[in-house]
Assembly symmetry: C2
Homo-oligomer: 505 residues x 2
Amino acid sequence: MNHSAEKFRAEIIDIDVGKSIILLHENDARRMSIHMGDRVLVHKKGCAYKKGCKCGEVALVDISDTMVSEGEVGLFNDLAAEMKVYPRSEVYISPWGKPESVNYIRKLIDGDELTKSEIETIITDMVEDRLSDIEMAAYVTASAIHGFTKSETVALTWAMVNTGEKLDFDGITVDKHCVGGVPGNRTTMLIVPILASLGIKIPKTSSRAITSPAGTADTMEVLAPVHYSAKDVKRFVDKANGCLVWGGALNLAPADDRIIKIEYPLSIDAEGQVLASIISKKKSVGSDYVLIDIPYGHGSKISNEERAHDLGKKFVWLGGEVGMKVKYLLTDGTKPIGRGIGPVLEARDALMALSGDGPQDLVEKSIMMAGELLEFSKERRKGEGVRDAKKCLEEGSALEKMRQIIKLQGGNPNITPYDLKPGKFSKQIKAEIGGKVASIDNSLISKIARAAGAPKDPTAGLYIDKHVGEKVGAGEPLFTVYAQNAGKLEDAIEISRKQSPFRVI
Amino acid sequence: MNHSAEKFRAEIIDIDVGKSIILLHENDARRMSIHMGDRVLVHKKGCAYKKGCKCGEVALVDISDTMVSEGEVGLFNDLAAEMKVYPRSEVYISPWGKPESVNYIRKLIDGDELTKSEIETIITDMVEDRLSDIEMAAYVTASAIHGFTKSETVALTWAMVNTGEKLDFDGITVDKHCVGGVPGNRTTMLIVPILASLGIKIPKTSSRAITSPAGTADTMEVLAPVHYSAKDVKRFVDKANGCLVWGGALNLAPADDRIIKIEYPLSIDAEGQVLASIISKKKSVGSDYVLIDIPYGHGSKISNEERAHDLGKKFVWLGGEVGMKVKYLLTDGTKPIGRGIGPVLEARDALMALSGDGPQDLVEKSIMMAGELLEFSKERRKGEGVRDAKKCLEEGSALEKMRQIIKLQGGNPNITPYDLKPGKFSKQIKAEIGGKVASIDNSLISKIARAAGAPKDPTAGLYIDKHVGEKVGAGEPLFTVYAQNAGKLEDAIEISRKQSPFRVI
């Protein structure tokens, strides 16, 4: 029924909004009983009133009393180009229903369980950009409040996988993930080359920092570009068994990006959604075995062992539901890993570790995890995983593999730790009393490194001169802050002055 | 600390967006660790780095990789004009925190009770347009799910009143409200002139139809303009004791409009929010006594008496909390009121009723409610309210008052029911069998009238030839559909063909 279509004069608004949005004058909207956020069908001249014509596009309505006059409809660049509508030509507008998924979001708000097909519809509409920010925010808020049932979580995971690209590799494919919260925890930079050098496929996609001083993608970017497509990942892994790329450009489980964009301004991090997001990304790259690193303890994201086990078990369960073997490890989340904090300083730690001279805690954790992955994926017998991981690091084959990956990703394969220079403005923060470093506060360390400019300035951050358990004399440096400019150095020092991240006893 | 301010070249985007939004290139945003929906402080050249300077404006960030180049910031018209920024001039951008109310919205999501001052902060930020659609949608969704406690509801009501304009009249001021759901229920069109003619102040603001075929504002608009300011309302009421205007242009409890804009696309209608919205509007116009009409029963919004009483008691309680006396009436919500459905047809019913010849049910309900208001507000003794309301209707003083109001609001005071002509395309729907009309379905009646074009076409709608309880012979008309064009008439008839709103037994 298109009897309610009305004729308008098109005004093209020279902006790409990335979504199909039209502007109506408020008087026209009122007359047509159309409200902000409603959808309309936009037809070109000559096809209105024809039932079932396919030239129309569905668009969301925004209302203005200044940008368009009565009788005019404002079409943004993207929609005008797609529909081939020219300025001042005639278009027909008629009310259009909401996508079915809006009803399912309503169900979610009401606390009703969604069926598999309802969840698929929601995720498909998200990926196809059919939902407005308001509808997306209602989804995110309602799912954070009510949580998802087990069967909803499984359906959500599959829906996220199936609406994106998928990779598949011959032979055993492994992956790892860390739930985060520990500065400097760049084990991925060692685990990928170790496993790849042992012939195991590890198509690693990583994230950038959101609230931390560096993500693995930011750190790898110091050594090579990380902005690649799924096709590139396929090529890298087919050639070198592994890669280290940014996950954001791959279109793997793309619903996740849409959801995160809405979760972020609301500081929402709903468990069911997080589980589905992580497991769907791992499934999409074709993983068979996934190791999850769950740092816990005072100062980390997960404060106690029980909650850490609880989360780990959920990963194992959900992975199993979509045909992957998942294992989790509880690790020490109470202090930073390694000594460098910030992209360049962390890349330097990693490169030094691959060269046989890195921070002991980073090396040991990486070997332990690589060994676990080897044994868990049945590629090595019990006890032989750690041994072989260690060996390949010591013999330099991991470093050689990393150089191959750096080269494939377009970086300089001959880079050395000495080429990686931290920010030119620096200041040592010294111990006021002598003693032993009893603790280092993760969140203060992150705050200082970020104030210094990390990850925006890759060379900014800090270096831990004395780690937990080490002795320090009064007046000896505890840590050194690096920045690209004097102002930010001062900002970072100001924070540590107010509250030191180091406790010396 | 403004050490993180960066210099950009301003591009002015010739669009009014009504909110402070800027566009950054995605590479700049990433480098600065700024995400979509984050806020930034926009400074003009020469004032960055100066702590505490007041020339900056806080704006929400949108991210694009096509509309602005790296190093450019897109400023929309409104912000550029407000800041007096010229094309290609230098501006400084630095990250800015979220408004405090975003934390309180988080609290709401977590199910924690908000304090009075937290609610005031949220409502103030809403009215000042400091919240994004995403944050607004999270507020609306979370409050729909968790509901509000009693003290939250009271705080919300006061906050809504205090962030808008307020009217105050000498002497007793009364008001009425109907929770809706019954087509044709235009008692306001009679109650206002009755009470005003008896010297009682009734500054009536009404809404337009959202999902119904006509709101009181749409119906009154047939007789006179309804788009007026609070100052106009003051003038009308000072002169004529009453008015009938659209509530949307008054800036009374304006937070409500913001909230409704977000609730509407989500079909959310949360009880605590509805209570606070209605009571705050009544408080804002300076009401002392408010009568609430709660139609209930099969086919109405509220299906049973218990729920209707429950809602009524909440209105009484909340009104009392903000210093108003509220009374509620349970009325028959099972069938339409009057005979005309649609703005012109309902205005005709009302005008006929004022002239002594209207539909009996509409007249009786209006007299009963006007009488209740007179007695409840102590303006008449028990038993004398209905008597005097009836008298003033019969003697024509209510009609005279209505003509005065129509004239004051800029309409033609000499209009007669015969001037109000329904749509030129019409069709009678006839009874297939003879008998008695047992029921008329409210939602089908609304659907048919809307399909015919109401409220968009004011002359569209339908006329009930035989009401519930009346006898009808086979082949006699049950109702007549009116439309402005043949297509819509056909659409409306098609609906009644599929399922008749009339049950004849």
